[in-house]
Symmetry: C2
Subunit: 203 residues, 2 copies
């Protein structure tokens, strides 16, 4: 065996991901990770030079999984408005499921308030990407103020995930989809009568 074993790396990352998500970053030590992954500590430190880099690797994989989930929840051939509605249906379903313990990136920002910390920076980059995607969908849907609508929807999304971690499966997140629909409708030109009508503005 002359090359690094990808299975060992995956086992470490899988174990770390589950423990970090369930208990947080500070509460989980590398000793626990190596014990639960049935891996030597040297192996962990060969693949991940430090705990911080393991945290970043976990967040980056969570980011990829998020986008896979996001893309799977929308049908890209449907109108953008329907895609937005589908995303928030999926968010509500996820945030009210027993497996959901909130947003890993919110937890990272909570535990690493310093924005220079790699854990916070990685989380912020993810959130910024989500924000951009929502704004793009809002623009494609014809929102009068797409940036405002995108940001507003991001608030609802983060509120739903915060509620999930705070409350568990039965939480105010059960209203996320309808809240998003209300906000989307308010930002879009009236579908029936006038072809162009600004809702007012949205700072």
């Amino acid at each position: 065996m002359n090359a690094p074993d990808p299975a060992a790396r995956e086992r470490v990352l899988d174990t770390a991901a589950a423990l970090f998500y369930e208990h947080g970053f500070h509460a989980v030590g590398v000793d626990l990770i190596v014990a639960q992954a049935a891996v030597a500590k040297t192996t962990l430190y060969r693949h991940f030079p430090s705990k911080d880099e393991l945290i970043v690797a976990y967040l980056e994989r969570a980011n990829l999984e998020f986008w896979a989930w996001f893309d799977a929840s929308v049908d890209p051939v449907t109108p953008a408005r329907d895609q937005l509605l589908a995303v928030f249906d999926a968010i509500e379903t996820l945030a009210t499921s027993a497996a959901c313990l909130g947003c890993a990136f919110q937890v990272s920002a909570a535990e690493f308030p310093d924005r220079a910390h790699p854990g916070h920076a990685t989380a912020l980059a993810h959130k910024e990407a989500v924000r951009t995607r929502l704004r793009e969908l809002a623009a494609a849907a014809g929102a009068a103020h797409p940036d405002a609508l995108g940001d507003t929807l991001l608030l609802v999304m983060d509120g739903a995930f915060a509620a999930a971690r705070m409350y568990g499966p039965t939480s105010p997140a059960a209203h996320a989809a309808r809240a998003a629909r209300t906000l989307i409708d308010a930002h879009l030109p009236a579908r029936r009568p006038r072809p162009r009508q600004k809702p007012a503005e949205g700072t």
Copy 2:
């Protein structure tokens, strides 16, 4: 001096509050607190039997301060709808201020995912009280589905605070007030014509 010195207790609590809020709970040790409060460790442990109880004391004081801020942001003689709007104006102002590092109770839930942990339980009790208050205001405003409106507004509020910790002063939280207004208007009977009209429902 035969009685406990309330000044020492306050100094500990003030210092702990600032450090917990800025750096999180796990990241701040009692040694740092006693050093910064210029207090002996024995004094800290006389007033607070454990770090967990100090955390709870901090959260309970933050809860009181939250309600003082909340009550100061609304004029109780104005209509309930105006009170809701005023609250979310205040939330937006707070969440986009440089001093705001997010919601201490969200941080507590993030760092103590176990809902049996006193830190999480205290945070959840606070959030539940806010939820109830918002629902009451929604009912007083005449919302067709006050619980739905109250929960929806809680999502916006928590989203704004999550954004504040993630982004800092310039964040999507800048849209919290208008988002709240849109949601409130959608849940309230039309102000002009019919005196009673259900918007549709709200799960």
